[in-house]
């Protein structure tokens, strides 16, 4: 701060508090709705203070025992699907990107730059621009309604490969020389020197990619038709498909809150890595 301006300080806090309130209002309303009965919510206007039906709504959501017209897949199962696929996507992306960046930086082989650019170009081919043909490939491979179908097509990562390549390029050459002099082969060097050095980048990528994996929507919408394989984000959408009045909003909102908790926790608890991950992957 350059100079004292008490009035401006008050204004700053006021604007920020207003911002926080507006940003948090949908979340608050979600919480309130998840503590009332379905009937209480349909009475317009719905109550704005928390009610007393918290536990039954959450257990109805978790075990899939709610009423209503929409889908009633148990949220516990869907959260498990989300968690498993988010973890496979995250760890898979990190693993194959580490390996390919290692190959590109520490070896000389024919078509090295060709592969590098091929990986780069995938940045320009998001799922959305090749929906139908990718769906066809996955269905031809018999991967519909499986974890493989949910995750493998999303596992390639140009951004992670670049991030690791950039980082490897800054690793001092002396380390390679020292490792070679001590008789370490390439994989030994990778395992004992490079991977430990990359810990920070790995943590940052973990946060970003976990959220990416957890929040996938379009792709699971295409490749899953079986309720047992719905990720929770899809499950919520299916619950509201019954229409405005028939929807059991209390259960839907409990589900929405449950679905937000894991990625929100990752962002808030790993805030430092999250910010680093955002800045690194985009620059």
């Amino acid at each position: 701060m350059v100079e004292r301006r008490p009035l401006l300080d008050v204004l700053s806090h006021a604007v920020l508090i207003l911002g926080v309130l507006v940003v948090a209002f949908p979340l608050y309303l979600t919480f309130v709705a998840s503590t009332h009965t379905a009937d209480a919510i349909v009475q317009a206007p719905m109550p704005l203070l928390p009610g007393t039906h918290l536990t039954e709504n959450y257990s109805a959501a978790w075990y899939g025992t709610g009423g209503g017209n929409g889908s009633k897949a148990p949220v516990g199962q869907m959260m498990l699907v989300s968690l498993i696929s988010a973890l496979i996507i995250t760890l898979g992306k990190i693993a194959i990107s580490l390996l390919s960046a290692f190959a590109i930086v520490y070896f000389r082989f024919p078509f090295r730059m060709f592969f590098f650019w091929a990986i780069f170009i995938t940045l320009m081919l998001p799922v959305e621009v090749r929906i139908l043909p990718t769906y066809k490939v996955v269905s031809d491979l018999g991967m519909l309604n499986s974890y493989a179908g949910l995750t493998v097509p999303l596992i390639a990562s140009a951004t992670a490969t670049f991030l690791f390549r950039q980082f490897f390029l800054t690793v001092p050459e002396e380390l390679v020389e020292a490792a070679r002099m001590d008789g370490a082969g390439p994989m030994r060097f990778f395992k004992d020197v490079l991977v430990p050095l990359s810990k920070t980048s790995i943590a940052a990528l973990f946060v970003i990619q976990f959220i990416y994996g957890w929040n996938q929507y379009l792709w699971p919408l295409l490749v899953t038709t079986n309720e047992n394989m719905y990720p929770v984000v899809i499950g919520i959408k299916r619950m509201i498909s019954g229409g405005d009045a028939q929807t059991e909003w209390n259960v839907v909102m409990a589900t929405a809150l449950l679905a937000m908790i894991p990625p929100a926790l990752v962002v808030m608890l790993m805030q430092k890595w999250f910010v680093k991950g955002l800045v690194d992957t985009e620059k």
Partner: protein, 293 residues
């Protein structure tokens, strides 16, 4: 930049790079090639007959009023999402940057929407504005606005824009805050000594120095509005009422999976690919970047 010291092996690098290359080959390049191929073909819904039609699919798109309308919808949607999202988060970031005490608390409370899935964000906003049960729609009715996004296209567009902006504010906020914190304090102090008041300092020093960040965010937000808002649209309006909120990505999905128009959908995919290529080139060509590829 290249390494001087490298390992020597005839087979190891191939093994290391194989998983990534296999995934991008099977799930990226092959389907993208198929999309290019199908865009110049016409086949029936069961794929039993395929006919070579050249650029006819593209000509049909060009003559299709709903497709042109979807272009207009997308342009309106992405412009408003980008401008509103950037503007609001800039205001928040500028004030957060001034504050010494409690800055971390505000930051934590503002960044969590980033973690919310677009489809879930859509459901949250849908719940607030649902014509029969929503709280906000009830308040609006009390104010004399007959809110119904199921019938009124403008209301539907407003709703998806609000949900999309809400989700993206945290991202923009973090980048603006980082940008503000990298502006040298000495510049601001010099201006203050010369008698420039905060308002003037913002427009003559801070805002111009932030312009690389702003431009970068503009590109990122347009990409976001084009591609990552599919979940919001699908959860809130399904492109309706009519086709009022059917952005290009939603139309590709709808025409391909619901209307089963393979050639038309493929041609739309190719158009989208061109848009992504242009945006990516703009991003790497003009945005100041620290890395050199």
């Amino acid at each position: 930049m290249e390494k001087r010291v490298v390992f020597r092996s005839a087979w190891l690098p191939w093994v290391l790079i194989a998983p990534q290359v296999a995934v991008i080959g099977v799930f990226f390049f092959w389907p993208a090639g198929q999309a290019l191929l199908q865009s110049v073909q016409q086949s029936d819904a069961f794929g039993t007959s395929v006919e070579w039609v050249g650029l006819e699919n593209f000509r049909n798109l060009w003559n299709d009023a709903t497709y042109l309308a979807s272009f207009y919808t997308t342009a309106l949607f992405s412009t408003l999402v980008a401008v509103l999202g950037i503007g609001l988060s800039l205001i928040l970031a500028v004030f957060a940057d001034r504050i010494v005490k409690g800055a971390m608390v505000y930051k934590t409370l503002l960044i969590w929407p980033y973690a919310v899935a677009p489809a879930v964000a859509g459901v949250l906003w849908l719940f607030m504005f649902a014509p029969s049960v929503g709280v906000v729609s009830f308040w609006l009715r009390a104010l004399g606005v007959d809110w119904n996004h199921l019938l009124n296209g403008r209301h539907a567009m407003t709703l998806v824009i609000m949900a999309a902006v809400w989700k993206q504010i945290s991202y923009n906020f973090l980048f603006f805050l980082a940008g503000l914190q990298s502006i040298p304090k000495s510049l601001i102090e010099a201006a203050a000594i010369d008698g420039a008041r905060p308002w003037r300092r913002f427009w003559t020093i801070v805002f111009p120095l932030l312009s690389p960040t702003t431009f970068f965010l503009l590109v990122i937000n347009i990409v976001y509005a084009f591609f990552d808002t599919f979940g919001i649209i699908d959860a809130v309006t399904q492109g309706g009422p009519g086709k009022e909120t059917a952005i290009l990505v939603y139309k590709v999905y709808y025409d391909g999976f619901k209307a089963m128009d393979l050639g038309g959908s493929a041609a739309q995919s190719v158009v989208l690919m061109v848009i992504v290529v242009v945006l990516t080139v703009v991003q790497f060509r003009f945005v100041e970047k620290k890395v050199n590829y």
